[in-house]
Symmetry: none
Subunit: 209 residues, 4 copies
DNA sequence: TATGAATGAGTTTTCATTCAT
DNA sequence: AATGAATGAAAACTCATTCAT
């Protein structure tokens, strides 16, 4: 008689082990045998639950991305819809959430980004995520500046977020969330000042802060 | 006597083939046999010239980074030393040089960045490069604003450069150099205005443009 | 559950196959693929059980040496502790035990002796074995002659044993155990006579036989 | 125009290099490339002079055996034909000649002995040499004891010689010629005493010494 | 005569996957 | 559900040999 509810235990357990192994030895060195050893189960079990290594990898990447956006969602929920600047900062801060920026997550995230380039399924996943960040930012920025400018600034913020992550992967200590957020907040602030000078029809920003 | 000067032909030929294969199938799929097939030579030759796959990979990464910084160097040579803003833009433009931003180089660059996380030799290489970009930018920015602020802005610019590259890897058409440079130039411009307002002792910027 | 107890079957099976292949084609020709073919299993299994060819070779050498000393131990158990001459002959006979002297074991033994010269782990193994033979012999001879002389004679006997093995490897029919033992017994007899002449305080030998 | 007399230079040069490399890394590790590097020439040259690696190895083995028997021949020339015991000791001493017993020659000699087991040409060479030692010894011993006994003792001496060599290979300091010769001389002496007791028709030995 | 570039066969090893238990 | 024994394909690498120069 099979133990019931095993999938709910085994799947996250294996995904966790996968991240840990990728952190240890890189994506290239993350073999099924290493992952199963880390999880304390047999190698065959991966096929049982994920239909193969590929399935486990996809699930792991989904999990990484899910973790990342859940940090953003959580913080957004705390900020009023009518406070665009606050919401933008929430998005930024969510991206540098405490448990996101340690070396382990940074390396796994980067490994998947590179890997996704040649795996259509993962590529789509990654692209959707990148676009979502952009549209979230654009949506809020449109309340503070003209649409065209909003799109432009959103691209800048998104690039800075990912660039800080990317460069943070080279740092053994990971990313310092505070200075990361400060850099982007500074950028945003300048853009808002610029916007208010150029077109006085978007004065909301000053009032809100 | 054997054919002379072959190393000068074979080594770049194999490095080229390596980039092409990484572009095709990713770093994970870039086997020695695939690379040698692409180069039209036997697999054994890679050991002959690079002492193993590892040597070829390191050389390829060096080549990618070299290409990147040579674009920067070339453009810097055309700009007067007393024009910091011009030099910063030269650095930025060099990073989005025409032959840098096609999908092939972007993907190879990203693949190596991720791979370097677990290869000490490549890691050092990558880190040195990332630091060089930063110090080049800081050096010039110091002529336009206080040292502390210069370091801060340099980080911002570096992050935007790498972030645009990273996000560009998701784009099948590669990076659009013009809008990439425009985004960073805009950021720089705002920072300069801010600096001149805050401390009138760095007025050079206005005169130079 | 998988088939249990396979290691207990596979390991000796692979060691046996290794000896057979070394006998057939020599140590240099004993490839993993040949060995696994002889054992009727796949090549990969060797890594599964021995962690690589090296592990298999070490285990095989241990097995050869174990077989050799078990022959000696067996015969020693049948001889009274107070009969040094009998014990020495038991050691000698054990070294020319029936299943030791066929061409197969002789060649494997010699191949390993030569190979061990450049493999620290095997070298130690071989050296320990050579020393053990010597100390066993010395121990018994000390009851029949002065210590210094005992050490001298022990070296002689050990040399003759190994020399007969070595020269036996050149003989397609292997070693003739009887004449091998006879040659060494003759040597021992002469040494005992010499000892009893020189120092009448070691008369035990005559009484015991 | 070819340099004349090159074979007379190159062949011994390569044979020397081969022995040195076998000493360094063992027969298994002695690749053509390593040998040619040691000799300071190109790899292709070995085919030129020896028709392949095999030819070089055979020549090297011949050289080792030649060196060994030349030591014996030299010493035999100094001893009167009518002094069998002296001639036997000359043979023994020749086998432990100063330049024979260092670790380098010992290891090469042993490596070839083991290797010869599976190379008909080398096997014959080795066998002829082993037989020659035996017949030299028998020839002299026949002048001191009955033919049958002479053959028996010759086997004993030959076994001790080779046994001491074999065991000497395990000793980093090589073989101590003096104690090696002493062990065999002792054995010979006992055999001669025994022979003179058993059959007084072979009294020469005593007179000669 | 001599080189060393180049090859291709063969080696060990890794690894995802399958499967009997 | 879970194991780990077993496989076979593919990987990197080694190496004797060939050959144009």
């Amino acid at each position: 008689m099979p133990k019931v509810g095993m999938p709910a235990i085994r799947r996250p357990q294996l995904v966790e082990a996968t991240m840990a192994v990728i952190d240890d030895v890189g994506l290239a060195g993350a073999s099924v045998s290493l992952i199963s050893k880390k999880a304390g189960v047999s190698a065959g079990i991966i096929n049982h639950y994920f239909g193969g290594k590929h399935g486990l990898m996809e699930e792991t990447m989904r999990s990484v991305l899910r973790q990342l956006s859940s940090g953003v969602q959580q913080r957004l929920r705390l900020v009023d819809r009518s406070d665009p600047k606050g919401r933008i900062l929430a998005i930024v801060e969510g991206n540098f959430d405490g448990n996101q920026v340690n070396s382990k997550v940074t390396k796994t995230w980067l490994a998947f980004w590179a890997h996704a380039m040649h795996e259509p399924a993962l590529f789509r996943l990654q692209r959707v995520n990148a676009q979502r960040l952009l549209s979230h930012l654009t949506l809020e920025l449109k309340m503070l500046m003209p649409a065209e400018r909003a799109a432009f600034v959103a691209q800048g913020i998104a690039a800075m977020i990912d660039g800080i992550w990317l460069r943070g992967a080279l740092n053994p200590d990971g990313i310092a969330p505070k200075s990361a957020v400060a850099a982007i907040e500074d950028y945003l602030e300048l853009q808002l000042q610029h916007a208010s000078n150029a077109s006085p029809s978007y004065p909301d920003q000053q009032g809100k802060n």
